[in-house]
Amino acid sequence: MDIRTHRSLIILFLVSLILLFVRVGIPETRQILSILFFYIALSEVFNLFTGLTLYVCFGYVAFVALGMYGGGATIKYLLSASSPPPLAVVLACAFAVAGILALILALAVGWISVRLKGAYFAIATIGLNEGLKNLIEGTGIWGGSSGLVIANDLIQSYNYDTFIFVTSELADYLIFTVYAVTILCIYLVIKSRLGYGLAALREDEEAANVMGVNVVRYKLIVFVISATLAGMLGAGKMIKDVAIYPPQAFAVSYTVEAIVISMLGGLGTVTGPVIGGLIYGVLKYVLTVSFPGLQLLALAPALMAMCVMFPYGIVGWLRRRFKGSKIESLLI
């Protein structure tokens, strides 16, 4: 991520706003845009940590899942009271709890794993994902393998129409909000001392340490921020899905898709996840709708071709293409 310019962040916001207005204004785009919102948010949150440190967290989905569980359990708990609190309060609590749980887990796990270098970190965190899943299944907390379902609680406490609005409209906007907050966080981070320190440790950790960068703490800080946002994204997802089961919640495919999107867009760039998310989401969706059952047979080679054509992602490719020109400075 280049430190020189923040202009492209503004453009990102504009693009996102356009997407948002299209979503609100043209109902027919709803189905595809809510997928896109999710993918973009997913990989942008992922990117907040990975883009800034070039460390990859394979257990990243654990934070999303924990957020789903935390948010869902909170909703279930609050709505089990005899007079349920107002919806806004319930949702706010769900997000807060989701974020806090993820934050705590990130602190605990990060404290150990952030000391690991490179690929060790990456795959050590896969244990996080599997471990948490097995813990939930093994101890039976949060419904264990039977899953956690909150539809009934919402329907009973509010009414059918509110339930429908919350799950199928509001949830998408909440997910979008998490994305917007993520961009804001990235912006705040990269223009601070923290940003310089991260940029340095991304290049050479030992040298950065000698240059005065507290590498462990800096990595931990962004890891925790990213995890917290991932938890909140999970809360939004829970409200959308109204149910969660361990195998689906902890599917590694989330992480892999986040990586795929980041790579397609350009790893370590802010614009990458948005561009990658748009490409991946649209491609996957259009193929799914046009060739039901055959879409993966088409998607897989398309991905392979893109890897070969744009190994540094679309943003990386554009940057090279427009080297030295104004456009380059927008492609952060």
Partner: protein, 295 residues
């Protein structure tokens, strides 16, 4: 009642399971160690191996030991083709691009398998029976599978550390330009390594039918991928032998801690076992960040 015999028996079962976990992981750390490729499509290659074993048995009556040779050859060939067709084009790029590439290729394999062989799960039986260990019956197929896995790993070790090609591979890992300066044909070594790695993985798929000879279907490989990644880390990721050792540990711990946990009667012992195993990974990494076997 937990008797000494019982403990030993469970441990032996764990060792056999562990050697298999180890073999199923070795290909992964081999590709990563040498080509810096995170083979996220690992499980799909295991699946191909299992199908090969199935077809060989169903059509020709070949035992898995023979079909694993064939599986190795198939994987070897795939490795060469994959290298020249795709990997060589992205080798200079960022490390993770290979992950995306292999992920896509893994999906592609699954879909091709589904369309060629349908999604119906298949199974077959060797019917070799079992042997008696301390009064407990233990399946012979598993014993064979475990021993063969160990032998393969030994052969690989000798190849890597005692032969010229092995040295060449290791030198390329260290510094490709330096290796070229010694006269090593670097791109051939890359291709060869990928071929060997995928050969091993596909072969481990064929051997997997010695352990589980049912449920062979296009998507059977996915759990192998996650598992292999976790084990590979425990073993130090770039060291094939480290991951073999780690797989061994994984198997033993899984079986032994089940025994202990079921005595203690907390939660569902088996799922807790998994949790503990993964928690152990974090712990091990805390103590030995480079993995079990330091290179």
């Amino acid at each position: 009642m937990v008797t000494a015999e019982y403990v030993i028996f469970v441990t032996i079962a764990g060792v056999m399971l562990g050697t298999f976990y180890g073999l199923a992981t070795i290909g992964l750390s081999f590709t990563f160690g040498i080509l810096r490729i995170l083979n996220s499509g690992h499980g799909s290659f295991v699946m191909i191996g299992a199908y090969i074993s199935y077809w060989c048995f169903a059509l020709l009556g070949l035992p898995p030991l023979v079909s694993s040779l064939l599986a190795f050859a198939v994987g070897f060939f795939m490795g060469f083709a994959l290298y020249h067709g795709l990997i060589s084009r992205v080798l200079g790029g960022p490390e993770l691009i290979s992950l995306v590439l292999m992920f896509a290729f893994g999906i592609f394999l699954q879909e091709v398998a589904k369309f060629s062989w349908s999604a119906s799960p298949r199974g077959f039986t060797w019917g070799l029976g079992s042997i008696n260990i301390f009064g407990y019956e233990y399946p012979l197929t598993r014993l064979i599978g475990g021993v063969v896995s160990a032998v393969i790993v030994l052969v690989l070790y000798v190849f890597l550390f005692r032969t010229k090609s092995g040295n060449a591979i290791r030198s390329v890992v260290e510094d490709p330009e330096g290796a070229a300066l010694c006269g090593v044909n670097v791109s051939r070594v890359y291709a060869l390594s990928l071929a060997i790695a995928l050969g091993l993985t596909v072969a481990s798929g064929a051997l997997s039918t010695l352990f589980v000879s049912g449920g062979i279907e296009p998507y059977m490989g996915d759990p192998y991928t996650t598992r292999a990644f976790a084990i590979a880390v425990l073993g130090g990721l770039t060291s094939p032998f480290g991951s073999f050792l780690a797989g061994l540990l994984f198997g033993i711990i899984e079986n032994l801690s089940y025994m202990l946990l079921s005595l203690a009667n907390v939660g569902n012992p088996f799922s807790m076992t998994r949790f503990l195993t993964f928690a152990m990974i974090l712990l091990v990494l805390l103590i030995r960040p480079q993995g079990l076997l330091k290179r």
